[in-house]
C-alpha cells in the first residue's frame, strides 16, 4: 500500500489538527495556568496549595470515598460479570440484551435525575425507610452523609466495572478451564489460578474506569452529600465557577492529573498487553 502513503498522510491531517487543538493545547493551558500566578510568573504555589488544611481534607475525603467505592464496585461487579459470561448457564438468557439493560439503557435517563432519585429513596421519610418501617426494622439515616456519596458513586460507576471484567472473562478460552479441571483442580483452584489471573486486565481497567470519575466527581457529593462535604472536585469546580481563581483551580487539577497518571502507570504494569479495554 506504499503508493497510498501520501493520501494516508492527508487523511491523518484533520485528526492531527483536532487532537492538537482540542486535547494537547487545552491540557497545556491547564499546566500554564496551574504553574503561574496572576502576573504570569512561574510559581508552584497553586499546586502546593493542596497541602493547605482545607484542600488536603477535600483530597483525603475524595481519595477515601473513591477507594471504598471502587472496592465495593469490584466486589459487586465480579460475580455479576461471571454470571453474564457463563456460557452454559445463560443459554436462554439473551446476554446481549442483558448488557444493554445494565449499561446503555439507564444512561438515557439523565444521570443527575437518577442520582437525585436516590434522595427520594433515602430521605428520612423516603421510600426505603417506609419499607423498613413496615417491617419494623430500624430506619436508615444516610442521606447527606459520606455513606450516601459512596452509594451514589457505586450506583453511577458500577457498570464501568462490570463491562471490562465481562469482556476479559468471555475472552478466556473454555479449553483452558477444562484442562485445569481435567488436571484435578477444583472449582476454587481453577478460579484462583486460571480464571482470575486471566481476567486481571479487565479488573485493572475496571478499577481505572471507576476510580478516576469517583475521585474527581463534584456532582454526586453535591447532590447526595448535602453541602457540608467538599470533595476535591467540588473545590476545583468552585474555583472556576464561583471564585474565578483559574490559577488555583488549574493547580489543583494538576494534582488530580498526577493521580490519574499514577493510576495509568500502575495499570500499565499490571496490564502489559493492554487487553482489558472498556469496549
Amino acid at each position: 500500500m506504499k503508493n497510498h502513503k501520501l493520501s494516508r498522510q492527508m487523511m491523518a491531517a484533520p485528526y492531527t489538527a483536532w487532537i492538537i487543538l482540542f486535547i494537547v493545547v487545552p491540557l497545556g493551558m491547564v499546566f500554564y495556568y496551574g504553574l503561574t500566578d496572576k502576573t504570569g510568573a512561574f510559581t508552584l504555589e497553586n499546586v502546593l496549595d493542596i497541602m493547605s488544611a482545607e484542600h488536603a481534607k477535600a483530597l483525603w475525603y475524595a481519595l477515601g470515598l473513591s477507594l471504598i467505592s471502587t472496592l465495593i464496585c469490584f466486589l459487586l461487579a465480579y460475580p455479576l460479570a461471571m454470571i453474564l459470561a457463563d456460557r452454559e448457564g445463560n443459554a436462554k438468557l439473551n446476554r446481549h440484551s442483558l448488557i444493554l439493560l445494565i449499561f446503555i439503557l439507564p444512561m438515557w435517563m439523565n444521570f443527575l435525575l437518577r442520582t437525585l432519585a436516590w434522595q427520594t429513596l433515602l430521605e428520612k421519610t423516603g421510600v426505603i425507610n417506609r419499607i423498613l418501617e413496615f417491617f419494623h426494622l430500624p430506619s436508615l439515616q444516610i442521606i447527606n452523609t459520606p455513606y450516601a456519596i459512596i452509594l451514589g458513586m457505586v450506583y453511577n460507576f458500577l457498570p464501568f466495572m462490570v463491562l471490562p471484567i465481562y469482556n476479559a472473562l468471555v475472552k478466556i478460552d473454555p479449553n483452558v478451564i477444562s484442562a485445569a479441571q481435567d488436571l484435578g483442580a477444583n472449582r476454587l483452584q481453577t478460579f484462583l489460578r486460571i480464571t482470575f489471573p486471566l481476567s486481571l486486565g479487565g479488573v485493572i481497567s475496571g478499577i481505572t474506569m471507576v476510580f478516576i470519575p469517583a475521585l474527581t466527581t463534584f456532582v454526586i457529593s453535591k447532590l447526595l452529600g448535602g453541602s457540608k462535604i467538599l470533595l476535591i472536585g467540588n473545590v476545583i469546580e468552585e474555583e472556576f465557577t464561583l471564585a474565578s481563581n483559574w490559577h488555583l483551580g488549574s493547580g489543583l487539577s494538576i494534582v488530580l492529573m498526577l493521580f490519574i497518571i499514577l493510576n495509568m502507570v500502575v495499570s500499565a504494569i499490571f496490564d502489559k498487553e493492554g487487553e482489558g479495554n472498556m469496549l
Binding site: 487545552p26 439523565n110 443527575l112
Partner: protein, 260 residues
C-alpha cells in the same frame, strides 16, 4: 439447582439497585403533588404541561441536536483517523492512540476546564458551538475504540483487488471497505450519542449563559426543586429507548442463533 437460584437472586438484586431510581422517577412523573416527598394521587398533567414548557423543550432540542451533530462529526473524523492511524508506523501509532485515549482516561472535570480555558483564550462565544466542539472531542475516542478493531480485521487485498478491477480509491472505499466497517461505526455512533446525551460535567464548563441542555437545566433546578415536567420527559425518553432497543434486538438475534 441452588447455584442457578443464587445467581438469579443476585442478578435480580443488582437490577433492583440499578433500576430503583429509574422506577422512582417514573412514579414521580405521575405524582399529582408538586413535591417529590409525598404522593398526591395519580395524574397525567405533567405530561401535558411538558408540551407547553418551552424552556424544557428548548433544552431537549439542544440536547438532541448536540448529541446528533457531535456523534455524526465524531464518526466521520474518527473513522478517517482510524484508517490513517492503521497505516502509521508503530511508534507514531502509539503516540496517536495515547493522545486519543486522553479524554477517556482523564477526569471529566479536567477535560471540561481545559476546554473552557481554550475557548476563553480563543475568544469564542460560549454557547451551542462551544458545547458541540467539546462533545465532538470527547466522542471521538469512543468511535475510534469501536472502529479500530474492525480496521485491524480488514483484509487489505480486498481493497487492492477493487482498485485492480478499476474502481477509483473513493469508490473502492465506499463499496468495499465501508460495508465491513459499518457495524463498528454504528456501535461507535450509538456509544457517542449516548455519552453526549448523558454528559453533564463537560457541558457545565463549556456552555454559555442562557444556553441549556437537559443536564445543565436539571442542575440549575436542583436547588429550587425539579419541575415534575422533567420527570415526565425523562420517562418518555426512557420508554421510547426501551421500546426501540427491544425492536432492534429482537430481529437480528433470532437470525444470529442458527449461525452459531
Amino acid at each position: 439447582m441452588i447455584r442457578t437460584t443464587v445467581k438469579k437472586i443476585y442478578m435480580a438484586l443488582i437490577f433492583i439497585f440499578l433500576y430503583a431510581p429509574i422506577g422512582t422517577l417514573i412514579v414521580l412523573s405521575f405524582n399529582a403533588s408538586r413535591t417529590r416527598a409525598k404522593w398526591g394521587g395519580f395524574t397525567l398533567k405533567w405530561y401535558t404541561a411538558l408540551l407547553e414548557n418551552r424552556e424544557i423543550m428548548q433544552a431537549l432540542w439542544n440536547t438532541l441536536l448536540i448529541a446528533l451533530l457531535s456523534s455524526l462529526t465524531a464518526v466521520v473524523i474518527g473513522t478517517v483517523a482510524c484508517i490513517a492511524i492503521q497505516g502509521m508506523s508503530r511508534q507514531k501509532r502509539a503516540i496517536f492512540m495515547g493522545i486519543t485515549n486522553i479524554p477517556m482516561l482523564n477526569a471529566d472535570i479536567v477535560t471540561g476546564i481545559s476546554l473552557m480555558l481554550l475557548f476563553i483564550s480563543l475568544g469564542l462565544k460560549f454557547g451551542l458551538g462551544t458545547i458541540l466542539l467539546a462533545h465532538i472531542t470527547f466522542n471521538i475516542p469512543y468511535v475510534i475504540l469501536s472502529v479500530m478493531p474492525r480496521i485491524k480485521q480488514l483484509n487489505p487485498s480486498i481493497y487492492e483487488a477493487a482498485l485492480d478491477l478499476g474502481a477509483t480509491p473513493l469508490r473502492a472505499f465506499f463499496q468495499v471497505v465501508l460495508p465491513d466497517l459499518l457495524p463498528g461505526i454504528l456501535s461507535g455512533f450509538l456509544m457517542a450519542f449516548t455519552m453526549s446525551l448523558d454528559d453533564f460535567i463537560i457541558t457545565h464548563f463549556t456552555k454559555g449563559a442562557g444556553v441549556d441542555t437537559l443536564s445543565t437545566k436539571i442542575y440549575t433546578e436542583v436547588k429550587k426543586g425539579i419541575k415534575p415536567e422533567m420527570y415526565a420527559l425523562s420517562t418518555l425518553i426512557f420508554v421510547t429507548v426501551l421500546i426501540l432497543l427491544m425492536l432492534v434486538n429482537r430481529t437480528p438475534e433470532e437470525k444470529r442463533i442458527p449461525d452459531k
